[in-house]
Structure formats: C-alpha cells, structure tokens
C-alpha cells in the first residue's frame, strides 16, 4: 500500500526530506516507522533500545495522535497521512 509521510524539524534536517510517498507491505504504523528507519538509518534516533518509539517523538495518523489510537499497532490503510514530529524546544 502507499501512504504519505511528513517529517518535521530535526527529522527533516537529518534526512533532507520533508515528505514522501512510501510504498510498503504491512498494516500498522510500526511498519511505516521501521520502513522509514531502513531507508534512513539516521531516523533510528526516534527509537529506544527496544525498538519502541521514544515518547517525545509524536506520530499523528491523519491528524490524530497514535497514542490515542493503538500506538505503533494503529492500523493503516491506503492513502493515510502520517506526520512525525520530533520535539521542538527553541524560544
């Protein structure tokens, strides 16, 4: 299936990519995250030593925080938009 991924702030800086259409096999948000990390190993900074997403990296599926769906197990479908926000602290 094909989903759209938007990257922000430091994730955009480290990959040089602000958005991409991702063709992947899988059915969950985790599949998108791991596909991305395979493509851009520098994105492994989002994951902790257990391969879980660090709590201060926010992933929104079609505008909704995946923490309020099923986390990395949240189901995805063709055409979904995933936005990944690293923390931004400057003032």
């Amino acid at each position: 299936m094909r989903v759209k991924v938007k990257l922000f702030a430091t994730l955009r800086e480290s990959t040089g990519v602000s958005q991409l259409d991702l063709e992947l096999t899988g059915s969950k948000v985790a599949d998108v995250i791991y596909t991305l990390v395979d493509m851009y190993p520098q994105l492994s900074s989002m994951l902790d030593s257990n391969g879980k997403l660090k709590k201060f990296y926010k992933v929104f599926l079609n505008g909704r925080d995946i923490d309020h769906i099923k986390g990395l197990d949240s189901p995805i479908k063709e055409g979904d938009v995933l936005a990944i926000f690293p923390p931004v602290a400057g003032g």
């Binding site: 925080d65 936005a83 926000f85 602290a89 003032g91």
Partner: protein
Amino acid sequence: MLSERELVRYGRQLLVSKLGKDGQLKLKRARVAVIGVGGLGCTSSLYLALAGVGKLLIVDSDRVELSNLNRQILHWTKDIGRLKVESAAEKLREVNPEIEVEAVAARVTEENAHELIKEADLVVDGLDNFKTRFLVNDACVEQGKPFVHAAVHGLEGRLMTILPGESPCLRCLLPAEPPEVKPIPVLGATAGVMGCLEAMEAVKVIAGVGKPAVGRLIVVDGLAMAVEEVRVERRPDCPACSRRQQP
C-alpha cells in the same frame, strides 16, 4: 474607562470586529506573565504591550548576549551584558507608557513557579527548554491559568493554547521530557511569527473572542510556507491535568 489618549492609541484595534471597547477594557484590566524574554518572549511581550495589556510581568534570569540579537528584538547591541528583563522592560515602557511593566530577574524553579504566576490572568511561554515549560505548565494547570505555549526550531514553529480544566495540557502533548539540545537553530523571523501568534492567542483569550488553538497543535512550516494542524487530546493518566475535572 479608556482615556482620550488610549482611545486614540488603540483606535485601530477598537475597530476590530468583536474586540471593540469591551475587549480593550478587558485587555487594560488584564495581567499577563511572559516567562522568558528571548526570541518568543520579546515579540509576544512587545505586541501585548502595544495591544494595551494593563500589566505585563516579564521573567528571565539571563543577560543579553551577542548571539541573542538575531531574534530577540527588544535587546539591542547596546544592551549586551544587561539583564534581559531590564533591557526588555525599558523598551516596553517606552513603547507604551500607558501600561505597567514589572521585571523579575529570576530563573523559574519548582519552588518559585507558583508564586511567579500567582498574580497573572494568563501566562505566555517564552522559554527555550521543556524542563521549565513543564514547571510553568504544571503551575498554570494547578492554578487554572490559561497558558499559551509556543516553541521554535529553524523555520518551524509550534503553538498550542492550554485552558486548564477544559483542554489538554503540555504534558498531554509530550508525555516525556525530551533531552535538552543546545544551541537550537532559529531564524529570527520564526521566533517573531510565533511570538506574534502567542500575543494574538493571549488577546483572544483575554477578550473572549475567536477560537484559540485549544486541543490543537498548530505547526507553522516556514520552509514549505504551510500550516499544519493536528489534534491533541487529554491523557487520562496525565500527571498534571488528569485530576482537574472537565467543566
């Protein structure tokens, strides 16, 4: 009451639909605390002063450095070495002598956070780290004070307004404190845009007009010149706001 001078000074915004004299009087009676007078705090406090917020409390413990001057518009080259609150208060008083400005040269700590915001009707985020933002968030939630949050990075800015008891708070958005990374890249204009949006939100909440960014994170993507919006929900287990009842 608004004086003749105030009626002229604020004339253009008195014409703003829904704001009017009632809104202006609410601004005049309002006390706003701006925590941090760096890039965000300089811009937000300047526009709040210009808008006629009756009392501004500005809090910061730092001194002006050369590296601040690309974005901290109340601090000028001649101010290097001065306390930021002194430098900022001087300009704010000059730009609008009708308002009161109180400068507090202090670092926000667990001990003083509650006291610092006690007198404020609304608190504006001018901070550059989440450790202090969480302290201010928690104090605002506890005291039921609206808190306008913003943060910047590069050409990107984020904004969310917190109305304790009604909305998710900063800890609902970020359930863990991110590690501090310094220095943070920031274009001055990014801090300016976000500081202006903070001032706009503060004015709206005080005057009771419009729809603030409550339960919504607004992401200003300057690189793409686009605005994204995502939904932020309350966490039932939020350590700060879960104990506050929804009205």
